[in-house]
């Protein structure tokens, strides 16, 4: 009997491998080469030197190639090359979702994709099931295949923005630079998109699972990518492992459900619906355990994963315990996050305005990286705290962006200033809510004095407004500042579009 089980297992394994052979699908997998320029967040009117990098993408039909956002972010030129084909064809970005690290690109010559088989999606792979990663990793120009096994399904940070958490699948096959954006197969089906790895662990790669990719594709169907809706509800997990805490919050005995709401941010779509002290019992009909997780595809994942799958405007049913009574509530998924300073941005330029030689920009993780990889040690403490704990400081609330002074272009009107705390609080007594608002105030101010107050600093900068205006043009000319401001929203992306580089 034992022998039979082993044989059965082996036959299943071979059947799966034979059917899987992704080499048969290799002509649907593309090498992507990108040339682009990183943004300069200290002097935002500048671009850094051009660089070239490569990744992988795969055909999903209708002239669309799916890849990672980080493969084509900030691209000024993209080419795709099919396996076995000598030609490199220009491509452009149709849709890009930095929050989920996915992008759809098209080619300028539609004939190139004729007769290419569109790959189809499968489902979330089971733990310990085999997968095959296909792509163009470093070490050669030829297509490469790596076999591995699914190790874990979890809800973790996507490092492209370093601020967004979503569902992901960990596999034990190496995912190296160049693999990014490549398909991960199980049988003939794509079960994920290779996208990141652990640098300190060998053979620990991560793939974007199908539900996240499908949500991205659905989001793009109306011609615009809205992004994963923001939640803005913080919870304390495991509290109700404590029977007395469960009694305090009047949770029915042996319920086994519930995570405690500790904070609902002002920008949350759940604001006014869910309150601090509520106990979340279920989401979309799925019970939330005391660990803050729900059963999903045979695993337990953070309950937020189910919210993430919603498109903006869709309703999410929540079962909530409040003062001992169970309430059935609905939250409309939406984009509420007022600022971007917790993550990297990939807009055409950082938002900024230069006035009288003072360079103002919005605080983002990208700005922090001006201090290098070890910015968490080297950057000013005030900025580290604002970027890592943006909702813990009352002074930071009620703003669309945190505006900072990123540089001083010295001239006779500003030569006296010394940057102590770079985070701007007020301009002429008005709370600075965004770069755009500051730009408008600076442009239209009629006061004789310009006063800038900074957060957690009691030393204001006081200028004669007319003096600053008098040196404005000459300073910009001397320092080569052009344009002198950029106020487009971050959603206006840097990557090349069908119309060309923006």
């Amino acid at each position: 009997m034992r022998r039979l089980v082993v044989l059965f297992g082996l036959s299943m394994f071979f059947a799966l491998r034979l059917e899987a052979n992704p080499l048969a699908l290799r002509r649907s997998v593309f090498r992507i080469e990108t040339t682009g320029q990183e943004r300069n967040f200290l002097n935002p009117w500048r671009l850094d030197s051009p660089e070239m990098w490569s990744g992988t993408g795969f055909y999903i039909g209708n002239g669309r190639i799916l890849t990672n956002a980080h493969v084509v972010a900030n691209a000024s030129s993209i080419t795709v090359q099919r396996d076995g084909d000598a030609r490199k064809i220009p491509a452009y970005v149709q849709f890009i979702g930095h929050d989920v690290d996915l992008a759809i690109i098209g080619v300028t010559d539609g004939r190139y994709l004729k007769n290419v088989e569109a790959l189809s999606f499968g489902s979330i792979p089971k733990l310990r099931s085999p997968v095959t990663t296909v792509g163009y990793p470093m070490g050669g120009d030829q297509i490469s295949m790596t076999d591995g096994v699914v190790n874990r399904i979890s809800y973790q940070t996507y490092v492209h923005t370093d601020a967004d958490m979503h569902l992901l699948v960990q596999v034990d096959s190496a995912i190296n630079p160049g693999n990014s954006g490549g398909p991960v197969f199980q049988g003939r089906n794509v079960v994920g998109v290779a996208f990141q790895s652990l640098t300190r662990a060998q053979s620990a790669g991560f793939i974007i699972p199908v539900p996240v990719a499908e949500r991205f594709l659905n989001d793009c169907m109306d011609g615009h990518y809205d992004g994963v809706p923001h939640w803005g509800v913080e919870t304390q997990d495991l509290v109700f492992n404590n029977s007395m805490a469960a009694r305090f919050y009047k949770i029915p005995q042996k319920d086994g459900r519930g995570t405690l709401v500790s904070r609902v941010h002002a920008w949350s779509p759940a604001r006014g619906i869910i309150r601090r002290g509520d106990v979340l019992l279920s989401i979309a009909g799925k019970d939330i355990g005391v660990d803050g997780r729900v059963a999903f595809e045979g695993e337990r994942v953070d309950y937020e994963a189910l919210y993430d799958f919603r498109l903006s405007g869709e309703k999410v049913r929540m079962e909530v315990l409040r003062d001992g009574a169970i309430l059935n509530l609905e939250v409309i998924a939406g984009q509420g996050l007022p600022h971007q300073y917790s993550g990297r941005v990939f807009s055409r330029r950082p938002k900024f305005t230069v006035f009288g030689g003072i360079v103002f920009t919005a605080l983002t993780l990208s700005v922090m990286e001006v201090w290098g990889d070890s910015w968490e040690k080297r950057a000013p403490l005030i900025l580290r705290n604002l970027v890592r704990n943006p909702f813990d400081l009352e002074e930071a609330q009620g703003r669309d962006e945190l505006v900072i002074v990123s540089d001083i272009l010295v001239n006779k009107a500003n030569a006296f200033v010394e940057v102590s705390s770079p985070a701007l609080d007020k301009v002429n007594g008005q709370k600075v809510k965004s770069v755009s608002m500051l730009h408008e105030v600076l442009r239209t101010a009629k006061d004789e004095t310009l006063r800038l107050d900074f957060m957690f600093d009691k030393v204001p900068w006081i200028f004669n407004l007319a003096e600053l205006r008098a040196v404005h043009d000459e300073t910009n000319k001397r320092y080569g500042v052009s344009p002198v401001f950029w106020l487009e929203p971050y959603s206006v992306d840097a990557a090349v579009t069908k119309e060309g580089v923006q």
């Binding site: 009694r247 968490e376 957690f456």
Partner: protein, 499 residues
């Protein structure tokens, strides 16, 4: 066995050869014997409280430092090296006898301490080193250190500039010489001498250059120690002053061109001047000594120095007057200076407390946020300690009359009683049962008051700054404390909350 004997013999040979073997850079010459009789080697054994387990101490730490004989049976050294000392010994470099010492007085803000032999012991054969006056910048000096307990090492250098620097993590800024020609990685309370007199004690090293507390500060400390009316210590204004660099701001504040002035940026609630000076006042003079546009005054020996240096030279209890203008009208305000103490800060500096104020409630360990606690995150604690706590220490460290301390839930000692909360750490406590708390004593008092009644039981409800909340019942807490005391070997009953 043969190997052991050989090793022991070798070790003895090295020790015995110490006094005879004089390296070329050893202190020598006519003053050598006098210096050898004035600079002692201190062996300090410290048992520092463990902020991660505040009911116990860290591993014993034994280290060697220098001390200078400044009076009969009086040795001057740094306070930080003898804080929490359980045993101190002093030894002349040419003597094998070690004299047990005790700390007779310490000022942890100025980071200076006086040691004396324990009762029944005396320092004999030593020479009192006179304390010299402040020296001009550019003077040649010698820094003396003790190596291998037995050798004095002299390094020649020059006092290049005088700056106000924090004497300790307590935040009291005192004048220090910055030395050149003496590249060092650390100081061990090394004395700086010139012409046989003590003119400074090395406090720290900045960019490989020793930073040496000036003799004026040493004299201030020692004279105060001898003051029959008691130690008054160093003082501070409690007023934050900043130069007005903007020409336009100078104009709007009514500061004439060429005139010096400082803008009052803030006044601490605990400042003696809190009732008469306020933000945006313009300070012109301190005790009729005019400040320049940078906030400097003319020091007779060092030239232009920050006005803060003048304040440091005053004693707590002295009168001090500020001349300032408000809306163009000149006013004068005189007040009695208070002693500067970092205990007035929201996050107090290091001290000598043998115990860390704390309380354990159902396994939750609450402590007052302190520099001692932050420094448990290792040598790189400014970048390793939790950012929100470092932020409070750096930017929000002014205590108010109603908020003297911040309480932190540092960790949870896992027990069945606190199941579900065991992973929580480093949270700033805002309130207990709806009542704000500002000290461990206040927390203990509030915990004794009636808690929150819910579902037929009485609970303690803790609310934290980040929105987190912990509820634990009063019922069963004594039993949990017994388990926790046994599991974590906590012998002090006083660590635990009792009603």
């Amino acid at each position: 066995m043969i190997r052991l004997v050989l090793l022991v013999t070798l070790a003895f040979t090295i020790v015995a050869a110490g006094p005879l073997h004089r390296p070329h850079n050893e202190y020598s010459g006519r003053d050598a014997s006098e210096v050898e009789r004035s600079v002692l080697h201190l062996t300090v054994t410290r048992a520092v409280p463990d902020p991660e387990a505040p009911w116990s101490t860290q591993n014993l730490d034994v280290a060697g430092y220098a001390g200078v004989v400044v009076g009969e049976n009086r040795v001057l050294t740094q306070a930080s090296i003898v804080s929490n000392a359980v045993y101190i010994q002093a030894q002349k470099v040419d003597d094998v006898e070690k004299i047990p010492m005790r700390v007779t007085f310490a000022d942890y803000e100025a980071n200076l301490a006086i040691l004396s032999p324990i009762e029944g012991k005396e320092l004999t054969g030593v020479k009192i080193m006179p304390i010299g006056g402040d020296i001009p910048v550019g003077s040649d000096v010698s820094l003396i250190s003790i190596e291998n307990e037995r050798q004095l090492r002299r390094v020649e250098g020059r006092a290049m500039e005088v700056r106000l620097r924090d004497a300790s993590l307590g935040g009291l800024a005192v004048p220090m010489y910055s030395m050149t020609g003496m590249n060092r990685s650390s100081c061990k309370s090394d004395p700086m001498i010139r012409k046989g007199s003590l003119i400074g004690i090395c406090q720290t090293v900045a960019e490989s250059q020793p930073q040496v507390i000036t003799s004026g500060v040493l004299s201030h400390f020692i004279n105060e120690k001898l003051n029959p009316e008691g130690y008054r210590g160093f003082s501070s204004l409690g007023v934050s002053l900043h130069p007005v660099r903007s020409p336009w701001q100078r104009k709007t504040l009514g500061i004439p061109a060429g005139k010096g002035a400082l803008r009052v940026a803030s006044v601490n609630e605990t400042s003696p001047f809190s009732d008469c000076v306020k933000s945006d006042d313009v300070l012109h003079a301190v005790d009729d000594i005019a400040v320049d546009h940078r906030g400097f005054y003319l020091h007779p020996r060092w030239g232009m120095m920050p006005i803060g240096h003048y304040v440091i030279s005053k004693y707590a209890g002295d009168n001090l007057s500020l001349r300032f203008s408000r809306a163009g009208k000149v006013q004068t305000c005189a007040r009695v200076l208070r002693r500067y103490t970092s205990q007035d800060k929201l996050v107090p500096g290091p001290g000598n407390s043998s115990t860390i104020p704390h309380v354990i409630f159902g396994g939750m360990v609450f402590q007052e946020l302190s520099v001692d606690y932050l420094s448990t995150f290792g040598r790189e604690w400014p970048t390793k300690a939790p950012i929100p706590l470092m932020f409070i220490y750096t930017y929000l460290n002014d205590a108010t009359l109603t908020r003297r301390r911040l309480l932190v839930l540092t960790n949870v000692l896992a027990d069945e009683f606190n199941a579900g909360y065991e992973k929580i750490s480093h949270l700033v406590l805002e309130s207990i049962n709806g009542r704000p708390v500002a000290s461990i004593e206040e927390l203990k008092i509030h915990l004794k008051l009636p808690g929150v009644q819910r579902s037929g039981a009485e609970f303690a409800q803790f609310e934290f700054r980040n929105g987190a909340e912990i509820v634990l019942p009063y019922q069963g807490i004594d039993a949990s404390h017994k388990r926790i005391a046994k599991t974590y070997s906590i012998s002090q009953a006083s660590s635990f909350f009792t009603r």
